[in-house]
Symmetry: D2
Subunit: 142 residues, 4 copies
């Protein structure tokens, strides 16, 4: 069973647009917020200052089913779907009022960052790997 | 040939994040910015106050190839790939320094908005349709 | 004693910029977030759909003392400093690690919104006034 | 005469909120956008990678007179009001349809950034100072 995390949230006013609903770009911020909460839950931080490892996004997508509005309470479910040597793939679902509001996915890459050099893909450090895979039963590692 | 539009842009500081690059959610705003410029180029506005037609996003996705940084100049190419009875599908590519920085897509739906009612999918009004299809040679209408 | 509310918060990654700290514009969003939480605590919502009353900002300011960074936990203290016939004035302080990170203020106006008319300043409705002033001991009403 | 710069801009959809107007926090981003354009006009960049000088904001404020809406075209006038040894103070006015939409101010500090040390206030480097003061006739230097 893949590792997952649920985050409860309320829509902030500045996340809405003139159509009266949450702007579609904001859902990607919600997904990231839940991702980072999942990392913290695992005893990790995704942006470790002083460490030259980074986690840029390789791809991200959302399908939108129902709009969210100011002050709506909703839940973000983020799930690690796959852990590869140098990448992690998540799925993400937003629920509001018992209905699916949106479903997304995101793939991130592990990179080494050196000053004045381009980011370079690198294997996920073992100590991060073991924490991400801990308690998660049977993640789809490949 | 599908209708397209090119928008030149420079990265603003508030669009970057602590990784020193443009936040991945910002690319969706770039795509929307180019979409709306395309509509204006067609003599249209996508958010017509006083009109009960709206254009919520049905899906949106990006693949990220190269990071953008503060003050980078880049180009957004947005293209109408498909116009259906009630939907429009775009593709979008960002170029920087002669290289593809990211490639995305987005589908929007035409809806009728009535106060205190849920948004309801509706056929694209003919006057919008004709403008979107004008000058576009051979759009993939279906 | 003026009515106040405290909101605990953690810095999200998308709130930082390439300087590695929370972007200065984000503090205004934090202030608004706490303001709306204060209204909810008073049994109110500041954006009541179907009601023609709105609350645009008249002025807003922040002094910045210490930067906030990704995942920092901080507290927002918002306080109603003054309630006038058509305006409300708040003060706002952000605390992090036992130190003041920033201090701000904001004045909002009560306006009547009619379709296709400019917003017009109007007295605060009595039912909102009484709730905002409830439990607040001795607010500086004038 | 203080040095100034004018930037023309159009409101993007993602800059509006559910009240149908530009969110008040966005004006601070407009002010920063014009500031950075002024620096570029002076042959400078405010965020020079590889250099340990930074420019955090010390204070920022706006008074709002008229709302801006989606696709409104407006002008941002930014002006260097004062250059001190370690600080720069700007004023900023937004014009729309021949009227003042908002008026703001911002003070920034010159700091030295060393890894894992707090930012420390430092005199503005001479080469930056001379460029900022060039062509500006009689700036209020003190």
């Amino acid at each position: 069973m893949p590792r997952e995390f649920r985050l409860k949230r309320r829509v902030n006013f500045y996340e809405t647009d003139a159509a009266g609903i949450v702007h579609f770009s904001t859902f990607f911020r919600y997904m990231e917020e839940a991702e980072h909460a999942l990392w913290r839950e695992s005893g990790l931080t995704i942006a470790n200052r002083g460490v030259d490892i980074g986690w840029p996004r390789v791809s991200a997508a959302f399908d939108y089913f129902r709009p969210l509005r100011f002050e709506d309470e909703f839940e973000i479910l983020i799930r690690i779907e796959e852990v590869l040597e140098k990448r992690i793939r998540y799925s993400c679902t937003l629920f509001h009022d018992g209905e699916k509001a949106a479903a997304g996915s995101m793939t991130i890459a592990c990179v080494r960052k050196r000053p004045n050099e381009p980011m370079k893909s690198t294997p996920i450090p073992p100590e991060i790997l073991s924490r991400l895979l801990a308690e998660s039963g049977d993640p789809q590692r490949s």
